[in-house]
């Protein structure tokens, strides 16, 4: 296998794409809560100051204002750290945006444990869980720069969409001509023994694990499940029938995220390969960098042939 090539942080790619789209459409607005640094939107703010609406450190107002702008016909991206956006302003997401059916794009930046040593206050391990329980909102976590660019382009989608981004540089997983559609999982590796179903930044880790397994004679498939909703049930069921074991991987609590979704689907469909849910265990958060946390938490669950580390 060729080593993966390192690209840019998904947040950077997202903001670059946003700027390019905004330069073509004055109707596109970004709403921020003192979050342009983390969101890599400083350049956007300097270039298009009239297309950025700052609300200060006020995440509830961020989402409410975004709903009002969208109601008035604006194409709105509300950008804020995922930890605050999906907790502090959850009621605004539920009522002002999703229930009221406004097509706001909610951009959760520095998601999962991206903020590492800043601690639990800054981690979002709950966002898939809470948003899945709210009707009428798509939930998307792009894996690499390619998926991120394609996600950013959902501006004309009539749905409310939550897009979950991380801050570290990501490896390239796809070619530019890879088919992409919200709700359709992307096969990254083919395999027949075991399948990794991964989402967001953990897809590249799953690919690395699959490649390590291949060297040991284990055939491992990888699916990038960038859409938690709409969920590609067909692709997951098809994969589950082909392999002996499924490993789900996510930078999210093991409760209420991708793993729970897959388990629910497979059990109800009567398709029961061996299943391992890898994510952040339900325990007090480990302290350290993003990588420290992932290594430590994942060591609680063996996921591949690399000594049990997630990454």
């Amino acid at each position: 296998m060729q080593p993966l090539q390192l690209g840019s942080p998904n947040q950077q790619v997202f903001s670059d794409t946003l700027l390019a789209m905004a330069e073509e459409s004055r109707n596109l607005l970004v709403v921020t809560s003192d979050s342009r640094g983390s969101g890599r939107l400083v350049a956007f703010g300097k270039r298009l100051p009239d297309q950025i609406v700052e609300v200060g450190i006020a995440e509830q107002n961020l989402v409410g204002v975004a709903a009002g702008l969208a109601a008035a016909g604006k194409c709105v991206y509300a950008v804020s750290p995922a930890c605050f956006l999906t907790a502090r302003s959850l009621e605004q997401i539920k009522n002002d945006v999703a229930y009221s059916d406004h097509p706001v794009k909610l951009i959760g930046i520095s998601a999962g444990v991206s903020y590492g040593a800043l601690g639990t206050t800054h981690h979002s391990l709950h966002d898939f869980a809470v948003l899945q329980a709210i009707n009428n909102i798509d939930i998307v976590a792009p894996a690499d720069n390619f998926e991120t660019r394609r996600c950013a382009g959902v501006r004309h989608a009539p749905q409310t969409t939550y897009i979950r981004l991380g801050k570290k540089a990501m490896h390239r997983l796809h070619t530019p001509d890879t088919p992409f559609a919200i709700g359709r999982a992307i096969p990254v590796r083919q395999g027949s023994d075991v399948a990794f179903l991964a989402t967001g930044e953990t897809v590249e880790t799953a690919v690395q694990a699959a490649d390590a397994l291949a060297e040991r004679g284990v055939s491992a498939a990888v699916l990038s499940i960038h859409s938690i909703r709409p969920f590609d049930e067909e692709a997951v069921l098809k994969m589950a029938k082909q392999v002996q074991a499924i490993v789900t991987v996510e930078e999210h609590s093991v409760l209420g995220g991708l793993g729970s979704r897959v388990a629910s689907l497979l059990l109800q469909a009567g398709v029961t390969p061996r299943l391992r849910i890898v994510g952040i265990p339900d325990e007090y958060t480990w302290t350290g960098s993003q990588q420290d946390i992932l290594n430590t938490m994942a060591s609680r669950r063996r996921v591949g042939g690399d000594g049990g580390r997630l990454a």
Partner: protein, 288 residues
């Protein structure tokens, strides 16, 4: 623009609205009686004389917007929207019924409703977003939102207020239904709201106080908005919860008490007498 109406016509409408509110709540077996009766004069004046809305073209981009932030007094909003022709009045009889969109708090599934509300403290932020958009697009649209006084304990209102003045939204008019009661009791004993005007002035609003159950006073204050260039306007509408029915007025127990058939009959009789008084005074004024 709205066709000018005589004050007596508007007063007559308010009485009709109160009858419809009470009848609908009694029929549904649920509703927010006191708050609906306190705010209905405000809605009457807004929809019949102040706002530019068109029931035949409810999504007209240049329309004025109204957001019912207090949410729970939805029966007043449904009644006025039905009267304006946004939907047939028969739909009011479906309130609270299985599958009906006429639920206990407003949703956009009901024609004329701009935003789903009901969780308190949400409407103002959405109104701010709409007002910013109207300014950006150079539209004449104004945005009105009605908040309850108990609602003002929600912190999100103060986040939204900061942004309303920061963005100099003089196309935004905020109305407080200041009936001084919330579900537990007097606002000042549950969580004090005074000094109300000073608080909002400190957040950058131009503030006026008015009798919120007085049609002429409401017409006058809305005609003055915006009260200051570059500032959002805020109207403290002093109202009586349960206004118009003697035994419901200023009674904390009537927050969401449903009238019995006997209570409804007495209430409708009181309102019929009030209607007669309006007609008599109208006849006197026109013959003079």
């Amino acid at each position: 623009m709205a066709i000018p109406m005589l004050n007596s016509e508007l007063e007559h409408k308010s009485i009709q609205y109160r009858k419809t509110i009470l009848t609908s709540i009694a029929h549904a077996g649920a509703g927010h009686t006191g708050g609906s009766l306190s705010c209905v004069d405000i809605l009457n004046v807004l929809y019949n004389q102040v706002m530019n809305v068109d029931a035949g073209n409810p999504s007209w981009p240049q329309r004025d917007r109204y957001i019912h932030s207090k949410g729970h007094s939805v029966e007043a909003l449904y009644t006025v929207l039905a009267d304006k022709g946004f939907f047939p009045a028969e739909m009011l009889a479906t309130m609270g019924r299985s599958g009906s969109h006429w639920v206990g708090h407003p949703t956009r599934k009901v024609p004329g409703v701009e935003q789903n509300t009901g969780a308190l403290g949400h409407g103002l932020s959405v109104a701010v977003g709409m007002a910013i958009a109207a300014k950006q697009d150079g539209l004449p649209s104004r945005v009105f939102t009605l908040m309850g006084d108990g609602e003002l304990s929600e912190g999100s209102i103060w986040e939204a207020s900061m942004s309303a003045s920061y963005y100099k939204l003089d196309n935004l008019v905020v109305i407080i239904d200041r009936n001084t009661l919330q579900i537990t009791g007097r606002t000042e004993s549950v969580m004090a709201q005074e000094p109300l005007a000073a608080r909002f002035e400190a957040f950058g609003y131009a503030v006026r106080t008015v009798d919120g159950n007085d049609i002429a006073a409401l017409l006058d204050v809305f005609a003055q908005a915006p009260f200051a260039a570059g500032k959002p306007s805020l109207i403290i509408a002093r109202t009586t919860k349960g206004k118009g029915v003697s035994f419901i007025e200023d009674a904390v127990d009537w927050h969401h008490h449903v009238p019995t058939s006997a209570e409804l009959a007495i209430a409708l009789d009181e309102l019929a007498q009030a209607e007669q008084r309006v007609q008599d005074s109208y006849a006197t004024s026109t013959t003079r």
